[in-house]
């Protein structure tokens, strides 16, 4: 039944690959060029002198390291909190009958549909009043509220797929509801949990609008916002190669995490059905 891969498929894939990866490769090339080369009119594709200098400069920059730390911290905390809350909420939505279930679901969807930009202004005012401006929680809270709806929807779909009998069997076997949830339901929903985690982490890691509007110093500024302030010594000559190096560095963790989680997701999906 296996279809043979024809030449058109290969050519098509190549076109798409080039189309998607060209900008990425371009940034990588830029990051290896010395500053003089990027400033010289139209630089060629491959660097003439390969250099690690840009990476070194970026890495030795305290501001960059600090913002990297901020980004990691904020993204991980909001991912963890969001996934935990979403798991509990989604379980309740999938399994229990309570008043206002539809309301919770539609409200969650409504929140997800709100444009981020429209909230930045009010949030800025709120946060300065509450003293949350330029703090980690000040970013974690909006990240969570924007990723929770998606996580809840994804996870409740996963929970609904798990047969009721699993849980009932666990209860008959002597588990409390909480034990049945923790030992049977959550492991079975692991692919869903990881999907939700990835989505949340991406949102938090890549966010720029909140990052630049709700922070003012290194205390909480995440990498994407910090890069915008990366001016270098000459205001009129942006340090393109250094910025590219920073961008490459920032992308590495995302790629690593995707590869890591992806393996878990596939493992979870193939672990097997219930009956034959």
């Amino acid at each position: 039944m296996r279809q043979r891969i024809g030449p058109t498929t290969i050519i098509g894939s190549l076109v798409i690959l080039v189309w998607c990866l060209l900008p990425v490769v371009w940034i990588i090339m830029l990051s290896f060029k010395p500053a003089a080369e990027t400033a010289a009119g139209s630089p060629q594709f491959l660097p003439q002198d390969w250099t690690w200098d840009n990476f070194q400069t970026v890495w030795e920059d305290d501001q960059f390291r600090r913002s990297l730390f901020n980004s990691f911290g904020i993204s991980f905390i909001s991912t963890a909190l969001s996934v935990i809350l979403a798991t509990l909420a989604a379980y309740a939505i999938a399994r229990l009958n309570f008043k206002g279930k539809r309301l919770v679901l539609s409200l969650a969807l409504a929140i997800a549909m709100f444009p981020v930009v429209s909230l930045v202004g009010p949030l800025f005012d709120l946060w300065t009043t509450f003293g949350l401006y330029n703090t980690w929680p000040g970013l974690i809270i909006p990240y969570m509220s924007f990723t929770l709806p998606l996580a809840i929807w994804t996870l409740s779909a996963f929970f609904r797929e798990i047969p009721w009998e699993m849980e009932q069997a666990a209860q008959v076997d002597g588990a409390t509801s909480w034990q049945a949830f923790r030992k049977v339901i959550v492991p079975l929903a692991a692919p869903g949990v990881f999907t939700a985690a990835i989505l949340t982490f991406f949102f938090a890691w890549n966010d720029f609008v909140f990052g630049i509007s709700l922070t003012s110093t290194d205390a909480a500024r995440p990498v994407p916002a910090a890069l915008a302030f990366f001016v270098g010594p000459d205001q009129f000559n942006p340090p393109v190669s250094t910025l590219s190096a920073a961008a490459v560095l920032v992308t590495i963790p995302i790629v690593a995490i995707v590869l890591l989680f992806q393996r878990r997701i596939v493992a979870g999906l193939t672990s097997g059905a219930v009956k034959g």
Partner: protein, 396 residues
């Protein structure tokens, strides 16, 4: 180990539908009780009420003399095998079986290990302990589910149609396996099935349910020979019992195709009735030529044309159509529908000796063992020839 007592158990759903309606049933300590009935009769609901997965609307459920209505499943200490096995796909066979032991927190790792290995050895699962359920065959999964049930010292076993996902051959093997284990462990067992072979072979007693009502609870032998009504009579036995409308004429009964004489017991049972339904099991028929001369006068012979023959080697079935009054025909059709067996027209199913050379479409002389025939009231469905237990004991 405990007896299970059900007192006027009712399960009523929000829309007022009673899935289980006033069932009282005692399961003795160590007894193998079967709950049987067509789909939707409430047998699974009743089982789930015993284990605690379904709330009890009213009535008392006692396990080991203790009222458990308000106890959650894990406090009842029962083990259950689900229809789809409900194995934990993320755990190995070993961990699946060990799951209830680990939850109880009463055992150390060494005790758990020895218990799991013992259960696995009983069920011939030792070589599969490290595998995941997804990599097992249906029969192996079934055995893992059983292993999970027997590994701990539960008060009773509950089975919810455990063999319905297996093919016929494996079902036979597992049936024998379940019977063997239950006898050996001597543990109280409640077993839900719609398969009457399982019901008849496994159970000490069988409870027949219909639309949430308990029809009869008796030994398989008694159910077969002394069904209390048309429903039980039609449900137990395969091929099912034949129901033939008969007009009462003194001590004779007029069937559409023959008139049979009744013995004094039967005659007094139908006295005063106009129309009754006679229940005759397929094996109460025989081709007249194969019946001993000495036995022949006790029954009745008649001639009929055989429609279809099914020869199975160890026995053969002949189908003989007959005409029934419309009202009765409709009633029989309703009954058939309720029993999940759709028979298109009124006809006799007759079990014959495989040696008899009956041909389709030919006139054949049959013999009916009329003294063993049961008589039912067509309106209420009650068995008019039902003997009291003492009488039944005397004849069987």
């Amino acid at each position: 180990m405990a007896e299970i007592t059900m007192n006027h158990i009712v399960k009523e759903y929000g829309d007022g539908f009673k899935a289980v309606n006033d069932i009282s049933l005692d399961v003795d300590d160590g007894e193998f009780m079967i709950l049987v009935g067509p789909s939707g009769c409430g047998k699974s609901t009743l089982l789930r009420m015993i284990v605690g997965l379904e709330d009890i609307t009213s009535g008392d459920m006692l396990i080991g003399g203790e009222r458990v209505n308000d106890k959650v499943p894990r406090e009842r200490n029962l083990s259950m095998v689900f229809q789809n096995y409900a194995l934990y796909p993320h755990l190995t066979v070993y961990e699946n079986i060990a799951f209830p032991l680990r939850l109880s927190k009463k055992f150390d790792d060494k005790t758990i290990d020895s218990k799991v290995r013992e259960a696995a050895a009983t069920l011939e699962l030792t070589e599969h302990l490290d595998r995941k359920p997804a990599n097992l065959s249906g029969g192996q999964r079934q055995r893992v589910a059983m292993g999970r049930a027997i590994v701990r010292d539960a008060q009773a076993f509950l089975f919810d149609e455990p063999l319905s996902n297996l093919d016929a051959k494996l079902r036979g093997q597992m049936r024998a396996e379940i019977a063997r284990m239950q006898r050996r462990m001597g543990i109280t067992t409640v077993y839900v099935t719609h398969d009457q072979t399982e019901a008849m072979t496994l159970g000490d007693r069988v409870a027949v349910l219909r639309k949430g009502l308990l029809q009869q609870c008796a030994t398989p032998r008694e159910l077969y020979q002394q069904p209390v009504n048309l429903f039980v009579a039609g449900f137990i036995g395969s091929p099912p019992m034949n129901f033939i409308p008969g007009r009462v004429k003194g001590d004779a009964l007029e069937f559409p195709f023959v008139t049979v004489s009744l013995n004094p017991d039967q005659a007094s049972a139908v006295a005063g009735k106009d129309l009754v339904l006679a229940g005759i099991r397929p094996e109460y028929f025989e081709t007249a030529e194969l019946v001993d001369e000495s036995r022949r006068p006790s029954g009745t012979t008649f001639t009929a044309v055989v429609d279809v023959i099914e020869w199975l080697g160890n026995e053969q079935y002949a189908y003989i159509p007959f005409e029934a009054p419309e009202a009765i025909a409709n009633q029989l059709k309703d009954l058939a529908r309720e029993l999940d067996s759709d028979s298109m027209r009124t006809r006799l199913v007759v079990s014959l000796d495989p040696m008899s050379r009956v041909r389709e479409g030919e006139d054949t002389e049959f013999w009916i063992d009329t003294p063993r025939m049961l008589l039912f009231d067509p309106a209420s469905g009650d068995n008019l020839t039902l003997k009291t237990p003492a009488e039944a004991g005397a004849t069987t």
